[in-house]
């Protein structure tokens, strides 16, 4: 008996008991749909996070105080002087720009509305480094710096919270930690990301922050140095150059750095490994449901074999070999799981699409991605499940003794 016939017979048999076949297939549908949807969500999360990290700026390095080694004492803070030294094109030719930042979470209020935002004290170099754009108003410039001006650039989310809108608010006065600041402009939205929203922030001149809002113990202290390398390839060189400069300036012994340099690549790699684990984890859980679906197939096939014992006996009496019976039942179980797989892929794609729509509706830019590999994986896996869980029942059918099977009531 050839495979095409076996397939047709299996189709007839599956069709002959629609409710039972449907319920069996449902198990596989749920399993495959879960795998597809979970992998899509994981992939989407990865792309969203990667995108938002890239959105912070390009070729970035972050320099923090404090070394990786906990035992180092008397860590010296990063200062403005360090920043100037790093910005020196002769000492660090791979560095394009340096933006020192003072950072604190402060309360910002307008009329009766108040909210807590991340306030960054920044220099004019900050904006190109961070890829910031404005929807209205102007950037902080040297003049604001020199005059320690009470001006603020506000993120669109913070603006929405305070004003209920994010346009036409330039010139309004908000209070940060009780002190009045005039709104200089509104930042363009960068969307939500791995670090929460990048739009819920306020930026004031570095000098203003230093003098009036975010005081630190040491004069000229800086919380983070944002450094932009001249190109993506220069990031590693820049790391070396910055390390050399800071080691010299901080007079740290070799191997006991009191600062940490974190590159965007490091950040990307970290988050990619996190989302990778997330995807595997979600996919694994979904895989379990596929396994349960497979056990459902085995269960039904066993019932089917018992129910059709006489039929199997008859087929054997008419000359069916073990192989013929084995193929008949394997084809049937594979067909069940294949149908489940196909419906499951469509269903999973639908779920992914719905998740994407919900994410968009709730304001998070997040698109689940149904990859070809996920579809291929689900198809192969579901067919394998059908085959694997069909083997035992099919084998049982094939081994039936014709005499016993024919006598079976």
């Amino acid at each position: 008996m050839n495979l095409a016939q076996a397939f047709l017979e299996a189709l007839e048999s599956v069709n002959g008991n629609k409710l039972r076949s449907g319920l069996t297939v449902l198990g596989i549908v749920i399993g495959v749909a879960a795998v597809i949807a979970m992998l899509a969500v994981g992939r989407g999360a990865e792309e969203s996070i990667t995108g938002s990290i890239s959105g912070i700026g390009t070729n970035l390095l972050f320099v923090f105080r404090g070394g990786a080694d906990e035992s180092i004492r008397n860590e010296r803070p990063i200062t403005l002087a360090d920043a100037e030294a790093i910005a020196d094109p002769f000492a660090a030719p791979s560095v394009e720009a340096v933006a020192p930042i003072l950072q604190s979470n402060l309360e910002i209020s307008y009329g009766g509305e108040r909210t807590t935002v991340e306030v960054n004290g920044a220099t004019p170099a900050y904006f190109p480094v961070q890829n910031h754009e404005l929807t209205e108003g102007e950037f902080i410039n040297e003049e604001h710096m020199l005059g320690r001006a009470s001006v603020v650039l506000i993120g669109p989310e913070a603006a929405d919270t305070l004003f209920g809108r994010h346009d036409g608010i330039t010139g309004e006065t908000v209070r940060i930690d009780g002190q009045p600041f005039r709104i200089l402009g509104v930042l363009a939205s960068k969307g939500g990301g791995a670090f929460g929203s990048q739009d819920n922030l306020a930026i004031i001149p570095f000098s203003t922050a230093q003098a009036r809002l975010i005081r630190r113990n040491t004069r000229d202290q800086v919380d983070i140095l944002l450094v932009q390398a001249v190109s993506g390839d220069a990031v590693l060189m820049a790391t070396e150059e910055i390390s050399a400069i800071l080691r010299q300036r901080h007079r740290t012994p070799v191997g006991a750095d009191d600062f940490t340099i974190f590159t965007q690549q490091d950040l990307l790699a970290t988050f990619q490994s996190i989302t990778g684990i997330l995807t595997v984890f979600l996919g694994g859980i979904a895989g379990i449901s596929l396994l349960v679906g497979g056990i459902g197939i085995m269960n039904i096939m066993l019932v089917s074999v018992t129910e059709r014992t006489r039929e199997i006996g008859l087929r054997k009496a008419l000359g069916a070999r073990r192989r013929d019976i084995l193929i008949q039942f394997l084809t049937e179980s594979s067909l069940l799981s294949l149908i489940g797989g196909i419906i499951g892929i469509m269903f999973g794609w639908l779920i992914s699409f719905a998740v994407g729509q919900i994410a968009v509706a709730s304001g998070t830019a997040f698109t689940p991605v149904v990859g070809f590999d996920a579809v291929a994986l689900a198809t192969i896996f579901s067919a394998a499940v059908g085959l694997f869980f069909g083997i035992y029942p099919a084998n049982r059918a094939a081994r039936l003794e014709p005499v016993e099977a024919l006598r079976y009531e």
Binding site: L314, R315, L318, G319, P402, V403
Partner: protein, 227 residues
Amino acid sequence: MAIDNVIEARDLRKVYQMGEVEVEALRGVSFEIKRGEVVSIMGPSGSGKSTLMNTLGCLDRPSSGEYVLDGEAVASLNDDQLASIRNRKVGFVFQSFNLLSRQTAITNVELPLRYSGATEGRRDRAIEALKAVGLGERMTHRPTELSGGQQQRVAIARAIVNNPAMIMADEPTGNLDSKVGKEIMTLLLNLNRDSGTTLIIVTHDPVIAEQTQRVIRLRDGLLESTS
């Protein structure tokens, strides 16, 4: 000599293991059946009648003894070889018809041909067989749409479709009323007369046994008489 005998059984024995106890269903049975002969096998229940039928039909192997079917020694073949022998040389007719209920009459008749690996002319041969049993008009009906007699005719068509050496009929009229039973018997006898296919009928109905040329009687696993 060997060509004239479709069946040669020598000292057939069959022992079943029923838990701890060994039960001897056949205790040394020997006989021959000639080509084209019509033979009935009779015996009370427990006489080994079913066991003999299963052995002759190659559904089961004897524990010992020799069995030659249509020139082939069968006793020592493996399962797949037995399946092939059944497919080519034996046509079964059962008391309860044993048709596939979801398939049409013609598909049921085609079934043995599927397992014999024939790819061409299957449908034509099935149609021929159905015409031979007088069911040319109802080939696309399913068993549930056919009467008992018609179902048994489909089963007989299935039995003859592969031109077997013998037809093994197990109480072929047992589930039919006497009028239809007579028709089926007539059909079987006509097929034997026209094509010369050996016919073996297992029955406990003396009326049917009377219509056969020879009666093999079994009692307690032994041959009682062969005339």
